[in-house]
Symmetry: C2
Subunit: 175 residues, 2 copies
Amino acid sequence: MRRAGLQTITDFLPTQSGEGLSPGTYSTPKDRAVDQVDTGYLQSLLGYNARRAALSIIENFVAGMAEFELRPVDFSVLSVIHHNPGITSRQLCATLSIQPPNLVGMVHRMQQRKLISRLPHPHDGRAMGLHLTPEGLSMAQRAEQKAFKLEEKSAERLNPAERSQLIQLLQKIYL
Amino acid sequence: MRRAGLQTITDFLPTQSGEGLSPGTYSTPKDRAVDQVDTGYLQSLLGYNARRAALSIIENFVAGMAEFELRPVDFSVLSVIHHNPGITSRQLCATLSIQPPNLVGMVHRMQQRKLISRLPHPHDGRAMGLHLTPEGLSMAQRAEQKAFKLEEKSAERLNPAERSQLIQLLQKIYL
DNA sequence: TATTGTTATACTCTATAACTATA
DNA sequence: TATAGTTATAGAGTATAACAATA
C-alpha cells in the first residue's frame, strides 16, 4: 500500500533561509569515504523543512486514523462536509484542490460506508448536496477529537504560543 | 505528468492547534446551498497548514527549476552529493528516505546527463561512491543559487527573523 | 549471515480527455 | 455555450520481493 509511502521524501526542495549556508564550491577528494552525511545545506532550506515536517505529521496522522479507516484526504472530505453541509462535489474539489474525477471514488466509498448521503441540490438540477449521515456525523466528531490528540503528539515539543505562531507563519506562505 | 500534481492536496490533515476551533456538533439543514465554503476548521490544523505550505513552495520550486530539468528530488540528490562527495547510494537513500530501487533510475539518468560519476568505494567492494562531474558541480552551484532566489520568492511575506524562526519550529516537529 | 546495488513488478495517486445532463 | 458529475485511462510515485556480488 502506498499510504505508508507518505514517509518517503521524493518531493522536497527549496532554497536558502535568510542567513543560510553558502552554496560555495567544495573540494572533492575522490578516494575518501563519507562517514557522517552532512545534511546541513538541505536543512537550511525552507521547503525541505516544510516537506519533512508535513511528512512527519502525516505519518503520525495516518497511523492514528487507521482505527477509523480514514486516510488524510478522507478525513478532510468528511470534515469539510461536516462544517459545510450541502456542499457540492465541485465546491469540495475547489476547496481541497482535488481533481473532480478523483473525488468520485472517495465519495462513492463513503456513501457505501453510510457516512455521507447525496441529496438533490436546492436550485441546481445538475448538482448534488453532500451531507453526513448520523453515522457520518458521529465518526466526524470522533475523528476530529482524535485528530486533536494526534496534533498534540506531533507538536509535543512546541508550546501553545509556538504552535499558533507556526500556523501563522505557514499561512503567510500559502495564503 | 505528475509533477504538476504537487499542487494537489490529497494528503493533509491533522488536528487542532492550541486554541483551535471546537469540533462541536453542527445543525444540518438539508435544503440549503453552500455559498461560501468554511475552511476555518482545516485551517486550524497544523498538518493541513504544513501540507499546504509545502505544496505551495514545491509548486514554485518545480516551476523555477524547470530550466535545469531538475525535479525537487533530483535537486536534493545533486545537492547531497555536492556536499558529500563519495556518498554511497545506500547513504543517500537513508538521508532522503528514498527506497533503494527508486534511486537507481535517478542516478542512472544523472549519469547519462554527465552530472555525476560513480567511482569504486575506497574500502567496500560492494558499494560505489557518487561524485559530481565538473558539469554536475557547475549545475549544482547554479541550481543552489536559483533555489535561494526561489526560496526568497516563497517567503517574500516573511522577514528574515520570521523565516529562520519558521525553520526552527518546523525542525522541532520532525527532528 | 548481512548488506550493496539491482531488476521486476504491483499498487496508489494524480491528471487529462471525453461524455451526459442540466443551466 | 458553460458547468456538474462521471467514466476511462495514462502517467508518475512508492513499495515489496528476490537476486548476485561482496562483507
